[in-house]
């Protein structure tokens, strides 16, 4: 139980995937314009990350290891992730068509979100058990959601502010992200 909690805290705060390990920056910049969109994206990523880390663990343990095909792990993980993302896409199109439209290209792009593949590969590297893998993926997704929603709330406020012209748009977003990353450095060494 303690190790699960440690994994969760570690993945959410200490080794936050976006702000400390700099993975998954594309959706972090791309869909953080509005809080609602960010919440939708977070939910999709949460679903994909948890499911993908479970599936990739199973594929690695019960397909690749017995056959001695460890060197195929990257490509098979990509296949698994792509499948989970497609499934999420189909389900979301049915349950929330508007969100599906709003997320647009960023939804299929979760496939190439390096945080997802990163979690799957890190699970293998750190030889996590099944439960640990699932919670590592879940924690990574929670960390991603946390910073994405915080960041989008800040950007919503920034949109109304008096920003000097050269800093408008992406520039001020980058600066904000950098400051957030600095703040998250404060968590290092906690676990």
């Amino acid at each position: 139980m303690t190790d699960i909690i440690l994994i969760l805290v570690g993945a959410i705060l200490v080794n936050n995937f976006v702000l400390t390990q700099f993975l998954g920056l594309c959706p972090f910049m791309g869909v953080s314009g509005k809080v609602e969109t960010a919440v939708g994206m977070s939910a999709a990523t949460l679903f994909v990350l948890t499911l993908a880390s479970a599936c990739s663990y199973l594929v690695f343990q019960y397909l690749l290891l017995p056959l001695g095909l460890e060197y195929l792990k990257t490509i098979s993980f990509i296949i698994v992730i792509a499948a989970v993302v497609s499934m999420t896409e189909i389900i979301m199109h049915k349950t929330s068509p508007l969100l599906y439209r709003i997320l647009g290209i960023f939804l299929p792009l979760i496939t190439s979100n390096c945080a997802v593949l990163g979690v799957a590969l890190l699970n293998i590297n750190q030889s996590h058990s099944f439960a640990q893998s699932v919670f590592y993926g879940f924690g990574a997704a929670l960390g991603f959601s946390l910073v994405l929603i915080l960041f989008s709330a800040m950007r919503e406020k920034l949109a109304l502010c008096d920003i000097p012209e050269p800093f408008q748009g992406a520039a001020i977003a980058m600066i904000t992200a950098g400051l957030m990353s600095l703040a998250f450095m404060g968590f290092s060494g906690m676990v």
Binding site: L63, V80, A83, I90, I91, R101
Partner: protein
């Protein structure tokens, strides 16, 4: 060196493993896709609700609904001149895509107009009545017509069918204009808000004037509304304490005006949408009735010329015969 089977065997396991993985995943995805099939897209309805419902067809589509369908399928959002910038911004916000300037090739945004019939010149031909997409023209053949001003969307579709050119489009009186617009206020301001929150303590109706100021300044009507803009009683206490001398109340007034305009336009659009749908139903019904009448006439014509009169004569003879019999 030619390829031989023993050379390929080490390749066999990985290929088969990946193939099996792919097939399993494909089967699962196929099942999910079948289970979660989408029947009709509710996005179209949401987009349609944002369009001004003038049904003018300036976008190149025969009404607002078809254009909404086209947008949902990926068409550009800047083809609606009556909606202008407001509609484009709302659509961009809804679909999370960048707002484009209006495509001027589809028309220019103009002041809101309504059709007006110079009644003395109207000959009562009734040609404009079916042309009106929202059934806002009242009248009957050989009687003069008139336009219900509050229902007219100013689409100008009735101008063309009128044979005597007695319909004018007159500009509608705009909603009460603010003293200065937000853009003008933004221009002239020198000192910025420092978020000192002195105004918060002064406000008698417990709104957050400085937060509201940022929303008004950025023309964010939705935020302004949630920050209780409409609760402002324009007492001016916040103005007096502001160390930056920001004309807060003028900002609020300008934003209230935009908000009121937006809400009134939305209400009008809702009404126009309803009337357009009824109009279309009516047209559909008329078309079916016309078709039935034509078929009836065609059947009669097939029986030969004057078959109707012959039938009447035969029926009359029959009647006479039956009357004569008893005597």
């Amino acid at each position: 060196m030619p390829l031989s089977l023993p050379m390929l065997t080490p390749l066999l396991t990985p290929v088969l493993a990946l193939l099996g993985l792919g097939l399993t995943i494909g089967a699962v995805l196929g099942f999910v896709a079948k289970k979660f099939r989408l029947e009709n897209d509710p996005v179209v309805e949401t987009i349609n609700n944002l369009l001004p419902q003038t049904q003018c067809g300036q976008c190149g589509y025969p009404g607002c609904k078809p254009y909404a369908e086209a947008i949902a399928a990926g068409d550009a959002i800047n083809k609606c001149p009556p909606g202008g910038e407001t509609t484009i911004n709302q659509l961009a916000d809804l679909l999370n895509i960048p707002a484009l300037p209006l495509d001027e090739s589809y028309g220019h945004p103009e002041v809101k107009k309504v059709a007006f019939i110079r009644e003395a010149e109207c000959i009562g031909c009734a040609k404009c009545i079916p042309a009106c997409p929202v059934d806002a023209i009242l009248g009957a053949p050989k009687y003069m017509h008139t336009v219900i001003e509050s229902e007219c969307t100013g689409c100008d579709l009735c101008i063309e069918p009128c044979p005597v050119d007695c319909i004018d489009l007159l500009p509608l009186e705009p909603y009460a204009a603010p003293i200065k617009t937000v853009a003008e206020l933004n221009e002239e301001e020198i000192l910025v808000c420092i978020n000192c929150a002195l105004c918060v303590d002064e406000c008698p109706v417990d709104i957050l004037p400085h937060e509201l100021y940022w929303a008004c300044r950025g023309n964010d009507l939705a935020s302004a509304e949630t920050l209780k803009l409409m609760h402002c009683i324009e007492c001016g206490k916040c103005d007096r304490v502001c160390p930056s001398n920001i004309p807060l109340v003028e900002y609020y007034q300008a934003t209230m005006q935009s908000l009121n305009t937006q809400q009134a336009d939305k209400k009008q659009a809702g009404k126009a949408k309803q009337r357009f749908e009824l109009h279309q139903q009516r047209m559909e019904k008329l078309k079916i009735e016309e078709e039935q009448r034509r078929q009836k006439r065609a059947e009669l014509a097939k029986k030969g010329p004057r078959s109707q009169t012959r039938d009447t004569i035969l029926a009359a003879l029959e009647r006479v015969k039956s009357k004569k019999k008893p005597s």
